[in-house]
């Protein structure tokens, strides 16, 4: 990131949501990199940008496809890379042909000339980084959005090289590790597919149990299963769905209807309030032993530096005890032996002994054996001659607007996000004071404030097709007329997810938190 020429920050306000990562972006900028920020709002990240593209919420595919068409017609595509390492280019070229700059201007709102310049800058760069966050993934077509961006990287060859790559920015220090360890409905540790008989058999042999041969449910599936009455018991570790689910009213009803809810958490969350049993858990960062895996696939050791308070136990110890009560004695809990078991079953972690993790300051997977240093580039193979592994396919995708449509009754587009001082539903941050923290308010453009005859701080009722909340308004010139913004940090003040829609991307299971149709009315008190 620090030694690149162009950085595209797409659907990400990294200045506030990934402040440490953003320091590396700034280092790159300081070294001369041009920064382009694509975001409906002119955020504090966008203030650093050489160019900001203020697109309409959810029109990313139109923008990406138009950039691709421009890159191809201007002769800036990297044909050498396309021929060497990709497949499906001709179909892709034909597909994006209809996404002219004029069409994209119509669908995204961004002037055609600005789109053209961005496309040229990205394609002409010697090195370029494409980063995204929830602005891309919290949509009904999340995976299509991601694919549209990956197509751009394949088109220009900006992948798998030093200073060039595609970077989904993770929201927590160990989101990557959670996925790696199999906290995904269809995968066992090391991304081994649960429906692959051979792979599953390996785990069954090691564990001495039968594993369900079908993929499981993701979070949104689980709520649907609750609704059908199929899911009646929930064990919830470090997650606060009572606040974080879209269409929160509905989610609360379902959680309340469970036969048994077990919550294991550091904090007494909204979900814990609904639970039958709450198990207080130690903090992963400093009260327990183990590993975490960062966005760059680097597995690092974490160590216990302080003992947890009385009555609070390490996650592993709790799980081992539960297993014993359920008739499986796994012996005394010990993080290193658990890790060694993982290494024996997950080839990509095979060479990562605790000793090596310590000596090398962490290792990036894959690391197959103890002589393997790990890999800096996940997709470096695409540049290998001859090509190693399968070709990377182009996936043509169409622009489909957000599900919650704007109409005369709900004319304003609400989008959600975070602020620097708070984290998600506030469980981890609201206990700490911050000089930056402001009470939750609906951000509106100054022009809308004028149109609705509102003063700053005045309360409005915000209504969507699912619910309504009351919030004070604040004016932000980073918003255009017709666009509003809320966070989910303070559900006690403003329950934002009462408004959002649970339109789910079928591939990722993520709801369209980023696009809600609302209306606002002056609030005169109940």
């Amino acid at each position: 990131m620090e030694e690149t020429d162009v950085i595209l920050l797409w659907g990400s306000n990294a200045r506030e949501t990934h402040p440490i990562f953003f320091h590396h972006v700034l280092q790159g900028v300081r070294n001369g990199a041009k920064l382009f920020v694509i975001d409906p709002r002119r955020t504090s990240s966008a203030q650093w940008a050489d160019s900001w593209l203020g697109i309409d919420v959810g029109s990313d595919i139109s923008l990406a496809n138009a950039m691709a068409r421009e890159i191809i017609t201007a002769g800036l595509a990297s044909h050498k890379f396309i021929e060497h390492a990709t497949s499906g280019f001709d179909a892709y070229r034909a597909h994006v042909e209809k996404y002219t700059l004029e069409r994209a201007e119509r669908e995204t709102g961004v002037p055609a000339e600005v789109i053209r310049k961005t496309a040229h800058a990205y394609a002409r760069a010697e090195r370029a980084q494409l980063c995204w966050t929830l602005g891309i993934t919290e949509h009904h077509n999340a995976v299509d959005n991601v694919v549209a961006l990956i197509n751009l990287a394949l088109l220009t060859g900006h992948v798998g090289r030093y200073g060039s790559g595609v970077n989904p920015l993770r929201g927590q220090n160990n989101v990557q590790g959670g996925g790696d360890m199999g906290a995904i409905p269809d995968r066992l540790p090391g991304f081994q597919h649960v429906e692959n008989d051979e792979l599953r058999a390996k785990f069954e042999r090691a564990w001495g149990v039968k594993i369900h041969a079908k993929r499981g449910w993701h979070l949104s599936d689980m709520f649907q299963a609750m609704e059908r009455g199929e899911l009646t018991m929930l064990y919830c570790l470090g997650e606060n769905p009572a606040d974080s689910e879209a269409d929160r009213h509905h989610a609360l009803k379902l959680l309340g209807g469970l036969e048994f809810l077990l919550v294991q958490d550091l904090f007494y969350t909204k979900t814990a309030e609904l639970a039958d049993v709450v198990l207080p858990a130690a903090a992963g960062a400093f009260e327990s032993e183990g590993t975490v895996t960062s966005s760059e696939r680097r597995v690092q050791r974490v160590r216990r530096t302080v003992a947890p308070p009385d009555g609070v136990r390490d996650d592993v110890a709790i799980i081992f005890d539960l297993a014993r009560r359920l008739g499986h004695d796994w012996g005394p809990p010990d993080s290193e032996s658990i890790w060694n078991e993982c290494r024996s079953l997950s080839p990509m972690h095979g060479g990562m002994t605790y000793r090596r993790l310590e000596d090398l300051g962490g290792i990036q997977w894959p690391c197959y054996d103890e002589s393997h240093p790990g890999e800096i580039f996940l997709h470096g193979r695409l540049w290998h001659d001859p090509l190693i592994g399968p070709r990377a396919p182009f996936h043509p995708v169409e622009f489909v607007p957000p599900v919650d449509e704007l109409d005369s009754e709900f004319p304003i587009r609400l989008t959600t996000g975070r602020r620097l001082d708070s984290y998600n539903t506030g469980v981890q941050t609201r206990l700490y004071p911050s000089p930056l923290r402001r009470e939750e308010a609906l951000d509106l453009s100054p022009e809308d404030g004028q149109q609705y005859k509102l003063r700053e701080g005045e309360k409005v009722r915000v209504s969507s097709r699912r619910g309504s909340v009351v919030a004070p308004v604040r004016f932000d010139p980073g918003l255009r007329p017709g666009l509003a913004f809320l966070t989910t940090h303070f559900h006690d003040q403003v329950a934002t997810n009462d408004l959002t829609i649970d339109a789910i991307d079928p591939k990722s299971g993520t709801a369209e938190f980023k696009a809600t149709a609302i209306r606002i009315e002056k609030y005169h008190g109940d």
């Binding site: 900028v29 001369g32 041009k34 920064l35 002119r42 504090s44 966008a46 203030q47 650093w48 940008a49 050489d50 160019s51 900001w52 593209l53 203020g54 709102g109 961004v110 002037p111 600005v114 453009s445 100054p446 022009e447 010139p477 918003l479 255009r480 007329p481």
Partner: protein, 632 residues
């Protein structure tokens, strides 16, 4: 770039002042009127906006000049315009002495109380002003004016000195020599009535150059001053002006460097570095990087003459500005620079005006700009004014100042000839050094060395001030003794009994009456542990309490340290405190202990400070301790 720290807004006048330097804003994001259609869809900032960071100091100057102080709203607007964090803008604005970040009346009289003026009744002037107008800094004349004590204003030949500034649309600055309370008060009143006479009161050669008109003095650098109008190009050419550049264009870069090397010219700013070596380094860079469009070279004229007691560069710029322009143009030819900067001390309004006029006339006459003298040489000069920071005379601090950063020196290496202004190879030359260049080209390097001594060629300008009968700038051949120079200036004034001479200014050294036969050369002064420095020769008769002079010098350095490196930041404060204790008769332990501590601290500052300021902040004190028993 968190550009939303405070909600302070700039007034229409403040915005107009900033826009006068930066142009009108192009979008709502830059502080212009918000055009929703466009501004809510796109914004450009980033590198392009920040590439104008070097306009920060001029923009702040404009606000100070038009409003009289710089409000938080104005700072915010500048930050927005330049896409720079408000904290950084505040950091730069608060660095400079001439900027006020607190409300201040539009008319201000800056009254010098520095060492040269002290010998001419500055304290009496200040106490009389206090009685007439109230304590320094308090508003007077119905809140429309105030007066402040100031560091050396570089008008030492006319001590005591003052500078009156009147902010507003019709901003004016007026320097005042031989100031009396009545004259200061009168100018203040004129200022509040918007009829302050502008700075265009010409240098009086008789007053500032006592050798003027004398048949015995063979003036070389000062030859033209007073014989033609300073900004008459015909007059300049009639007296040999631009013959040097003509010759240089014939010789080409290598020929020029050869002549300058043959002249053995050493820099006149204080460091005495061979000028030809600097130029050669840049010339080599040019050869190495031929055809690389991203490489630029710069020549800078260091006109930030701030050493207390120094005013020779001011006299040159006020009296013979074309010589500096010609010298820089020859430097550009030799080094390959396409762009030059004159970094001119903020307190010199007339010099700034004269230099600006000379640059403009040269541009119009084909002597600057494209294809100079139709010989294919391209060169432009931009004038930048400092804002009251002594440290900006240090060359790397000067780069930071031009670039729009706090004027804090950089670590060396890299040296300026490798990575200077905007990190490009840069040659920095003092005004007097550059004034020598046309002369060297005109008469040839071989002829130049016939004046002066073997190791110190040419003439040198000296600034005689303090207790001297005829203060002013003197030009003598290198090797003239201090005694001869003093005799030329009419001998010791005051009570006639010489106590000490300060050579080289606040960063220089004291010499005693026993050392008057020292030849004034680089090597001669070095032999007695002193320095020529910036050419200051300041006399003190035996009525002066040298301890108080040392305390004033210590106060000067305490005020002027940039605060970046610890030895200097802490050392200059401790040094002043110890002197304060010694003078008030309350030393910690014994006076001898304090003196030992002062010497030890001086050593630490000399060894460990980043730049010359910290390294020389104790040299006057040490030289005095070496020669006299002041504290026993």
């Amino acid at each position: 770039m968190d550009l939303h720290l405070t909600n302070a807004q700039a007034s229409a006048e403040e915005r107009a002042a900033v826009d006068s330097e930066l142009g009108a804003p192009e979008s709502g994001w830059e502080g212009g009127k918000r055009q929703v259609e466009r501004d809510s869809r796109t914004a450009s900032a980033g590198h392009e906006a920040r590439s104008r960071r070097h306009l920060l100091l001029p923009a702040l100057h404009a606000v100070q000049k038009h409003i009289g102080w710089i409000s938080p709203g104005a700072l915010n607007y500048v930050a927005l315009r330049l896409n720079t964090a408000p904290a950084e803008v505040h950091g730069v604005a608060s660095f400079y002495g001439m900027f006020s970040l607190e409300p201040r009346p539009p008319v201000v009289a800056h009254v010098c109380d520095d060492i040269a003026c002290l010998t001419h009744g500055a304290e009496k002037l200040c106490s009389e002003l206090e009685q007439k107008l109230g304590p320094a800094g308090t508003p007077c004349v119905g809140g429309k004016a105030t007066w402040l004590r100031s560091q050396c204003l570089g008008l030492c030949e006319r001590a005591p000195a003052a500078l009156v500034t009147a902010a507003g649309k019709n901003a004016k600055e007026r320097a005042l020599g031989t100031a009396t309370p009545e004259r200061v008060q009168l100018l203040i009143e004129y200022g509040t009535e918007d009829r302050l006479p502008g700075s265009l009161r010409d240098l009086s050669p008789e007053l500032s150059i006592p050798q003027f008109g004398s048949k015995h003095s063979r003036l070389r650098l000062l030859a033209r001053i007073g014989r033609t109008h300073p900004v008459s190009l015909d007059g300049y050419r009639g007296l040999g002006g631009y013959d040097g550049l003509q010759k240089a264009l014939e010789l080409g870069p290598e020929g020029v460097i050869r002549e300058v090397a043959a002249s053995r010219l050493l820099g006149r700013g204080g460091a005495a570095f061979p000028t030809a070596k600097k130029w050669e380094a840049l010339h080599l860079h040019r050869e190495l990087l031929k055809g690389n469009p991203n490489r630029h070279h710069y020549v800078i004229c260091n006109a930030d003459e701030s050493e207390p007691g120094t005013f020779k560069d001011r006299v040159l710029m006020e009296g013979d500005p074309f010589a500096i322009v010609e010298g820089m143009t020859i430097a550009a030819l030799a080094t390959g620079a396409k762009k030059g900067y004159i970094y001119l001390r903020g307190e010199y309004p007339l010099a700034a005006e004269r230099m600006a006029q000379a640059i403009e006339i040269a541009e119009k006459s084909g002597l600057l700009g494209k294809n100079i003298m139709a010989k294919g040489l391209d060169f432009d000069i931009e004038l930048r004014r400092g804002a009251g920071a002594y440290i900006c005379g240090e060359e790397t601090a000067l780069f930071n100042s031009i670039e729009g950063y706090r004027g804090e020196p950089r670590n060396k290496p890299p040296f300026p000839t490798q990575a200077g202004l905007f990190r490009q190879p840069t040659a920095v030359n003092n005004v007097e050094t550059l004034a020598n260049i046309p002369l060297i080209l005109r008469e040839g390097g071989e002829a130049f060395v016939t004046v002066g001594t073997k190791d110190s060629s040419g003439t040198r300008l000296f600034c005689l001030c303090g207790h001297i009968t005829r203060p002013g700038v003197y030009e003598v051949a290198m090797g003239t003794t201090l005694r001869e120079l003093m005799a030329l200036a009419g001998g010791v004034a005051g009570n006639g009994r010489l106590q000490a001479v300060l050579l080289g200014g606040a960063a220089g050294s004291f010499v005693s009456p026993k050392e008057l036969d020292t030849p004034l050369t680089f090597e001669g002064t070095r032999a007695i542990g002193a320095t020529l420095g910036s050419g200051v020769v300041m006399l003190f008769d035996d009525s002066v309490d040298l301890r108080k002079v040392l305390l004033r010098i210590a106060g000067f350095f305490r005020h002027e340290t940039c605060g970046q490196c610890v030895p200097c930041r802490v050392g200059v404060v401790r040094q002043e405190e110890a002197l304060q204790r010694l003078i008030s008769g309350k030393p910690l332990k014994s006076p001898a202990d304090e003196v030992a501590m002062l010497r030890e601290m001086a050593q630490a500052m000399r060894d460990a400070s980043i730049c010359g300021l910290g390294q020389t902040a104790s040299s006057a004190l040490e030289s005095a301790l070496h020669r006299w028993s002041l504290f026993s």
